[in-house]
């Protein structure tokens, strides 16, 4: 299945903007570290949409993601999901609505993959001590979505880095959240799984009404799969919009402090970044900067 047919199959129209929208709304948030300040940042993400946060290292992408998750409390501004202020929700309620797949998940005890994913059902246990059959069904569903059924009984200490990353994603999927936040979900994956995971996220976003926001270094994957891209620089959102608008060679070269060229993916027509390495072919550069 080519990327083009995947996108065409699951393309949706964004919902109309309302006062209390069925969406994630990040409104003028500011978060201060001792040596770094993020914001003010504002953006919206709607069901059926895949929003990508991109930018150089240290530009605040992960911080923005953690603020959007309700975990870090901004010093200004607010974050609301379907009208509810995420920072006012009790942690357990928030955990039922927001799933965050982090990049640096620690690996401490030798759980099996299935046990590891089962932890994702914890927010849904509420007063119960044990998982119900419904919980086990969702765990099985998450295993299938992440293509991990073959490894369900293997210990997490015995699988590869990429497989572990898919397990972290599966655990977040098992939470059945409304808002799915992912920090570098494809960092350790080979190209087949990169495409597969992003296709999975697009499919879930369309069919289950998930709101998906992800941080990625893979500019080309973002360009290919995202509906909207936020470009961050030094803690500020310098541009947001569809990939065609955001992925421009002059701006990206400035923000990333390296020379890049942007052309089109011949099969999908989406913007595609390439490095400029040797003595530039002037005509070629001019063509790409117009394209």
């Amino acid at each position: 299945m080519s990327i083009r047919t995947i996108r065409a199959k699951y393309a949706t129209r964004p919902a109309p903007v309302q006062a209390a929208c069925a969406c994630l709304r990040v409104d003028t948030v500011v978060y201060r570290y001792p040596h770094f300040e993020l914001g003010p940042a504002t953006f919206e993400a709607r069901p059926g949409e895949l929003v990508a946060l991109v930018g150089p290292n240290g530009s605040g992408k992960t911080t923005l993601l953690e603020v959007a998750s309700g975990h870090l409390k901004p010093s200004q501004g607010f974050v609301s999901l379907d009208g509810d202020d995420l920072h006012r929700l009790p942690p357990a309620t928030r955990a039922r609505r927001v799933g965050l797949a982090r990049q640096d998940t620690p690996l401490l005890f030798p759980f099996t993959v299935r046990e590891f994913i089962r932890h994702g059902r914890h927010p849904h246990l509420r007063g119960r001590l044990f998982e119900a059959s419904e919980d086990e069904e969702w765990v099985q569903w998450a295993l299938e979505q992440a293509s991990l059924t073959r490894l369900a009984g293997r210990r997490v200490t015995e699988i590869s880095g990429g497989e572990f990353q898919r397990a972290v994603l599966a655990r977040t999927l098992a939470q059945r959240p409304r808002l799915l936040l992912l920090d570098e979900p494809t960092a350790n994956l080979d190209i087949r799984y990169q495409i597969e995971i992003l296709a999975l996220l697009r499919r879930l976003s369309a069919t289950e009404g998930l709101i998906v926001v992800l941080v990625t270094h893979e500019l080309n994957l973002a360009g290919e799969m995202a509906d909207r891209i936020l470009l961050l620089e030094d803690g500020r959102v310098v541009r947001q919009g569809p990939p065609e608008e955001v992925m421009r060679a002059d701006e990206l070269s400035r923000v990333f402090n390296t020379r890049v060229a942007v052309d089109r993916n011949p099969s999908s027509g989406r913007p595609r970044i390439t490095w400029v390495t040797s003595a530039p072919d002037a005509a070629g550069l001019r063509r790409s900067q117009q394209g």
């Binding site: 975990h71 401490l108 030798p110 046990e115 994702g120 914890h122 044990f130 998982e131």
Partner: protein
């Protein structure tokens, strides 16, 4: 082996280990400086003639001691299990946070002061344990939370300091007292009264039940603090509750029987090898397993060189290490 923690599996495991506990109890009641047959043990338990030999030996001499061993074994094993989770450290045991050193200091101070103080030694020991718990808690807090490494460091430093103070006090005691204390520091289940068992039983059982209610949170805590918070676990509250209950269990155990070593470290690991890391299965396994192990160890301590008694802590160490090595090589981590 890793069993899924379903209600059914928990019941199966509890039933199986309870059977083991019953067998251990019967063995402990039968063996000693006087060997009793099974019929005599049962008649001793059920008999109405208070003067009969079986009743005296079983009900008045051995049963309270067996109950104490069961309670202390369960308390230490459960405490070790949850501390290994709380500190994210498989080498943690109930004494790593200095609780037992505090109890020992309380007891030794009571003996040194003599008289009425000496009679209330277990209370002084428990007081020492709780004071140490409070001290380590305040020392180990970082930004309102019990960060596992600062807590561990605080405990280790406190334990070292208290050990030095204990040695200092020991030099001030007479030689006779020193010998008795040294034996106590290795674990001694011989001083047992029905009153002690009566006070200990509800406290230890309540603490274990309280920790079981936190079992599902403990599982998620093993994923890491931030992960647990993202999954809705009230991390600070759970950590404090676990710390307090584990310290309570250790304090209660050590106050009456001294620092019996190896049990709180060994039983959780064997439990994990048998049933996995899910605390909904592991905690009952540790409690029942720890009780059985200490009952059997104490029986050995009483019978191996009868009429002399070995310190039970020596038996747990000597008997436990080879078993652990065997299981380690067979099953793997």
């Amino acid at each position: 082996m890793s069993l899924p923690a379903t209600r059914r599996n928990v019941l199966i495991v509890v039933a199986g280990l309870t059977l083991l506990l019953m067998l251990a109890t019967l063995a402990a009641l039968a063996f000693g400086s006087v060997h009793l047959s099974l019929e005599e043990v049962l008649s001793g338990l059920n008999g109405s003639d208070a003067a009969s030999r079986a009743v005296i030996i079983v009900r008045e001499l051995r049963l309270p001691r067996v109950l104490l061993a069961g309670l202390v074994g369960a308390a230490l094993a459960v405490s070790g299990t949850v501390l290994q989770a709380l500190l994210r450290n498989p080498l943690a045991d109930p004494y790593v946070l200095g609780i037992s050193s505090g109890a020992a200091l309380g007891e030794i101070t009571a003996l040194w002061l003599g008289g009425l103080w000496a009679a209330a030694a277990p209370l002084m020991a428990f007081g020492g344990a709780m004071a140490t718990m409070t001290w380590v808690y305040l020392l180990g807090r970082r930004r309102g939370r019990l960060a596992s490494y600062t807590l561990l460091l605080a405990g280790v430093i406190t334990a070292s300091f208290l050990s030095a103070v204990i040695l200092f006090v020991l030099t001030l005691l007479s030689t006779r007292d020193v010998r008795g204390t040294a034996f106590w520091l290795m674990g001694d289940l011989s001083v047992v009264t029905n009153a002690r068992v009566g006070i200990l039983a509800p406290a230890i059982l309540a603490a274990i039940v309280g920790l079981y209610a936190l079992a599902k949170h403990l599982n998620v805590l093993l994923l890491g603090d931030s992960e647990a918070a993202h999954l809705g676990v009230p991390v600070a509250g759970v950590e404090t509750a676990v710390f307090v209950l584990a310290s309570l269990l250790t304090g209660l155990a050590v106050s009456v029987s001294g620092a019996i070593g190896y049990l709180g470290l060994l039983v959780p690991h064997v439990g994990r090898m048998l049933v996995g890391s899910d605390h909904r299965l592991l905690l009952p396994t540790a409690a029942l397993g720890g009780a059985s192990v200490l009952i059997l160890s104490d029986t050995l301590a009483r019978t191996v060189v009868a009429p002399l008694e070995l310190p039970v802590g020596a038996v747990t160490a000597v008997a436990g290490a080879p078993v652990f090595i065997y299981l380690l090589r067979r099953t793997g981590p």
